[in-house]
């Protein structure tokens, strides 16, 4: 065999030796197959390779799970933040004033408070931070509280019984003092400042993996200045002694009016407009009729020369609004009738706006 193969005959001696060794080993292995097994080294090598492969696979799986959890956590934080922001925007838009005093003026006792005051001070909501941050059961590092009337199933504030509820509304805040910029706040008693109040809020949120992008939003009191008079009366404004005049002066062209149970006041405010391509000043002439609680039967007639606004004392859903007492038609500018019960029956003529503590209607 060797002689007939010139190729093999030229092999070096060590190569020939290895080939023989392998041949013998193979023959021997076949002969003693039952007693053959894996050596410890082979086992260890196989185990190490297996461990490396398993570790790599496990690492990928764990990373996927962590990523999934992180995404879910981020999504949950973002959802909660958006809902709280929407709630605050709604509350502030219905409010007549907001402020960020150094101490909480209510019994809620929150630190770093944002105080939102409803029309006629019917409600007060405070957002702020408790002394213990985070409180037990919350992740933190900071949690935002809301203290104020609760909501019913239809999203209306529960004002009966003046029940105030203090609850955590937002977790995972990294910082306190989210109240960034406040505009025209805390000036309820000043009739000349009937401008809208606003605030810029920045929530800095934090997940277990780190800081999230800040969630920044603005909120504005949308119902001023229409509410201004009603609020200022409710807050003890000195409206009767300030210019321009009360309604029952000679300049008010009114019809037969019984406003014994109401307060009326005229305002003349001006603002700049562009008229026929040139700057001009427009005068807003308004008559404000403030209806006190339980006024009885009342008739109010507005002036055709003024924008007439009636401020009613109760929530809109407590009123029947028709064209007349016992009528079935809809309320119009000429004839309107609002009633919240036997203690409040108000007939309205030539009125432009009805302002309730929770809503307004342009007639």
């Amino acid at each position: 065999m060797k002689r007939s193969s010139p190729h093999l005959s030229h092999r070096p001696a060590w190569s020939s030796l290895v080939l023989r060794e392998l041949l013998k080993k193979s023959t021997k292995a076949k002969a003693n197959d039952k007693s053959q097994g894996l050596s410890l080294i082979e086992l260890l090598v196989a185990m190490v390779i297996s461990l490396i492969v398993i570790h790599a696979m496990a690492h990928i799986m764990v990373s996927e799970v962590k990523l999934s959890r992180s995404f879910e956590e981020y999504s949950n934080i973002k959802d909660a933040t958006i809902r709280v922001a929407a709630m605050m925007q709604k509350e502030i838009s219905n409010a007549s004033d907001l402020s960020v005093p150094t101490t909480d003026p209510t019994t809620c006792g929150l630190n770093d408070p944002l105080v939102i005051i409803g029309p006629r001070r019917l409600w007060t909501i405070v957002y702020g931070f408790a002394a213990q941050n985070p409180p037990p059961g919350w992740t933190g590092p900071k949690t935002l509280y809301r203290c104020g009337p609760a909501y019913d199933a239809n999203g209306n504030l529960i004002l009966s019984g003046s029940q105030s509820v203090k609850t955590v509304v937002l977790d995972r805040l990294s910082l306190t003092s989210p109240w960034d910029t406040v505009i025209n706040s805390g000036d309820l008693a000043n009739l000349s400042n009937s401008l809208s109040r606003g605030i810029r809020i920045q929530f800095n949120m934090q997940s277990t993996t780190g800081q999230l992008n800040p969630y920044i939003f603005g909120a504005r009191s949308a119902i001023n200045p229409l509410y201004a008079f009603g609020d200022q009366v409710a807050n003890g404004s000195t409206y009767l002694t300030t210019a321009p005049s009360a309604c029952d002066d000679a300049s008010a062209a009114r019809g037969t009016t019984n406003i014994l149970s109401s307060i009326c006041y005229q305002t003349l405010t001006s603002h700049q407009i562009i008229y026929e391509g040139a700057p001009a000043t427009e005068i807003d002439k308004r008559q404000h009729f403030y209806i006190e609680p339980n006024p009885g039967t009342l008739t109010i007639t507005g002036s055709p020369l003024f924008e007439d606004i009636v401020y009613l004392p109760n929530l809109k859903n407590t009123y029947t609004i028709k064209n007349a007492d016992g009528g079935k038609g809809v309320c119009t500018r000429v004839n309107c009738y609002v009633s919240s019960g036997p203690n409040e029956k108000v007939s309205l003529q030539n009125i432009n706006y009805l302002i309730f503590p929770d809503a307004q209607i342009g007639i």
């Binding site: 021997k28 909660a80 609760a150």
Partner: protein
């Protein structure tokens, strides 16, 4: 030299054969033995673990159903429409059913399917501490039909497990939290990982 090595090599092979590694049969026997011992150990531990896992599954199903009802209300109800998504978690049957109020104010096909927590979790003895009704509005906010003004907690338990899982919904901001009460009587810990 070469011849000398060739003579030695058969003896070396014989020595190695004497110290050969474990056979497949030996390995299999050891693995089988370890498996038997391990299974005996795990069996003693598995009962509470399995029941706790079922509880966790039920809690995950419940929190998922609550989140889905909340999101359905937020995404499908126009803001100016008087319509709420009402979800009932029934104590007796452990059914989680979702409806709209008033009826058909939005299409019921948009609502999450009704589920039974016992069926979903595989825990036939699963119990809920109270029947609870949540109402979700278009703005994603929640309230409780019983006019409870603060957050609402549902406790899930199984008689074969000492732990109690707490599913908490904040009102009105509808944040869902899962917590654990190890003994069932202590306060729920929502920060437990």
């Amino acid at each position: 030299m070469v011849h000398a090595d060739m003579r030695k090599s058969p003896r070396r092979l014989t020595n190695r054969e004497k110290h050969m590694g474990y056979s497949l049969i030996e390995l299999l026997m050891v693995i089988a033995l370890i498996s038997v011992l391990g299974s005996i150990f795990l069996r003693s531990q598995s009962s509470s673990f399995v029941n706790y896992s079922k509880l966790r599954l039920a809690a995950a199903e419940l929190s998922g159903a609550i989140a889905k009802a909340r999101d359905t209300a937020a995404k499908n109800i126009p803001v100016d429409l008087t319509c709420n998504v009402v979800q009932t978690i029934d104590k007796a049957t452990t059914n989680v059913t979702t409806a709209v109020s008033p009826a058909n104010c939005i299409s019921t096909t948009l609502l999450p399917n009704s589920i039974n927590l016992r069926d979903r979790s595989g825990s036939s003895d699963l119990s809920i501490d109270q029947t609870t009704v949540f109402t979700f509005r278009a703005d994603g906010m929640s309230s409780n039909a019983d006019a409870l003004l603060t957050d609402q907690t549902i406790l899930l338990s199984d008689p074969r497990s000492t732990a109690v899982i707490c599913v908490n919904l904040t009102i009105p901001t509808a944040i869902i939290r899962l917590g654990l009460s190890k003994s069932g009587s202590e306060t729920c810990d929502y920060t437990a990982k």
